[in-house]
Amino acid sequence: MSAVFEQIFQVGFLAAIIRIATPLAFATLGEMFSERAGVLNLGIEGIMLLSAMTGFTAASLSGSLWLGILAAVLTGMLMGALHALFTVALGLSQHVCGIGVTLFSSGLAYFLYRLIFGQQSVPPSIKGFQTLPIPLLSDIPVLGPAVFNQFALVYMAIIAIPLAAFVLYRTPWGLSVRMVGENPRAADSAGVSVIATRFQAVILGGALMGLAGAFLTMAQFNAFTFGVVSGRGWVAIALVVFGRWDPWRSAGAALLFAFVDALQLRMQASGLGHIPYEAFLMLPFIFTIVAMAVMSRNAVAPSALLKPFRREER
């Protein structure tokens, strides 16, 4: 047992957690901004997949990874705008529209990928982001190699967390977002445009979801496969609840999930080979459901979440 234990908790384990947490942190922050403005975005799973595809394609065709990132972010923003058009401007059901955006984006991702790359026995791959050690900091024992010898996108995620908290809690725009998510009528009376603010928040959220998708195909796997997102978007929605709609807590929730995911990956690799690895893949999802059950009783969602706003109606 102790041998298994040792194999699980190697130095690389911490680095694996950080890597797994990165796309989840982007996705969770993106969903959080959207929900704080009152818009549940179930399109996240499809938006991540489509962004993963467009980012990979742009990087593959142009040879520039950062052009790929740009394409993924723009894709995310565009799909966020589409979701906002349906749910904010037209006031349609956020649940069903989100599923619609996911089905549409996933279908489009599969279709365009097949159209551009054709059917190949080995999926085309790119030379993805390389680790970028930060001088001095990466020399710190244990923490250094795990946290400060990572992809540039990982550092961006680490910076994004305090930045998101600052924007949400310390800027006028963040105040507007929270107001339209809690009490849109009061926000409207105070001269805040509910529609515009919600659009902006959902589009910003889409951009972050795009980064999450880009990380998967351009840093983690360096290829696009149809199962590349495989439920990470849904997990992010749960993590927002688990993180009580707060940037710090949501990021913490992403880290916790990444810990469980890294753990099951190590269990797959360790001496438990007679159990099919799919059995371990269930664990993070079961963990998330249980965590939601524990946290949801006291969770207080933004008051106006799921509620469309029409100025002329009372």
Partner: protein, 351 residues
Amino acid sequence: MFRLEARTSTPAWFNLALPLLAIGATLVLCSGLIALAGAGVFEAYGVMLSASFGDSYAITETLVRAAPMIFTGLAVAVAFRAKFWNIGAEGQLLAGAVASCFVGAIPMPGALAMLLMALAGAAAGAAVALVPATLRVKFKVDDVVSSLLLNSVIYYALMALIEGPWKDSFSGYPISPPIEDSANFPVLLEGTRLHLGVVAALIAAPLVWFLIVRTTLGFRIRVTGESPEAARYGGIHVERVLISTALLSGALAGLAGVGEVGGVHFQVMSDISPGYGYSGIVVAMLARLNPLGVVPAAIFLAAVMTGAEAMSRATGVPAFLSDVIQGTALLAMLVALLFTAYRIRRVGAAS
């Protein structure tokens, strides 16, 4: 100037006109992708149409494919009526498939086997749907997220089964052992795959319609969905209704899996459902949550799926077009539904 004006009632012909409008808009929008792929739009749609309805065999194939989506469409329609957001029909279908495959592999008289397969599949689907419903009622967990996450759990459980204990030790393929030949659903038309499960699906739709529209439980489901406060005020135990709805919805989705095992594949494999559970959402919305409307809506999606494969072979347009069509149809239908709540009125400059 135009403005939106609230509408108090909708004419009956809307039930037919809105889905047709949505489907028409979808086909127009998706023709752009066909053109992008370098194929003729009319040729591509023509191939789709003839491959799905062109001859009697094609029609039976379309019906065979529609059957699971009739069941998942009914499952979603029932759930959404109560505003129980069951997005987990996919997992419930898989659970139903696994359970019926277990039962079907036990040697026993054919009729008994089929009956027990259906019961086991329905029970398994219901059990899976019970999880998000219980979590919502007892722990206030959002049913959308939990039912979505549960889809992944069930999928990996199925994969672990067919990669583990069920794995074919002879060939090494990740597939379950086949069910007994006597448990195979009878084929109704010689030379086709039209099986008993398809008829079961076609009968299930009016039964569910009767249940929703004409029974006390159906009334409770509708009131709970339209206004939980009013339901509570009227003495309806809302939590209990949600649980009943979940059981019914899950059982229907489970039956979708039973039909696939008993009538089409006779075993369980990883791709037994190409997303029929999610398609059920599209079907239910196109049907405006009316169980009778689920049948034509499912047949439409089935035709798109069968047609897209033939179109892909004939024109080279990726068959994934059918996935885009499904997503677009759902969004188009939602927009079309605006006409039920609002009408567009021209208003003078003076107002």
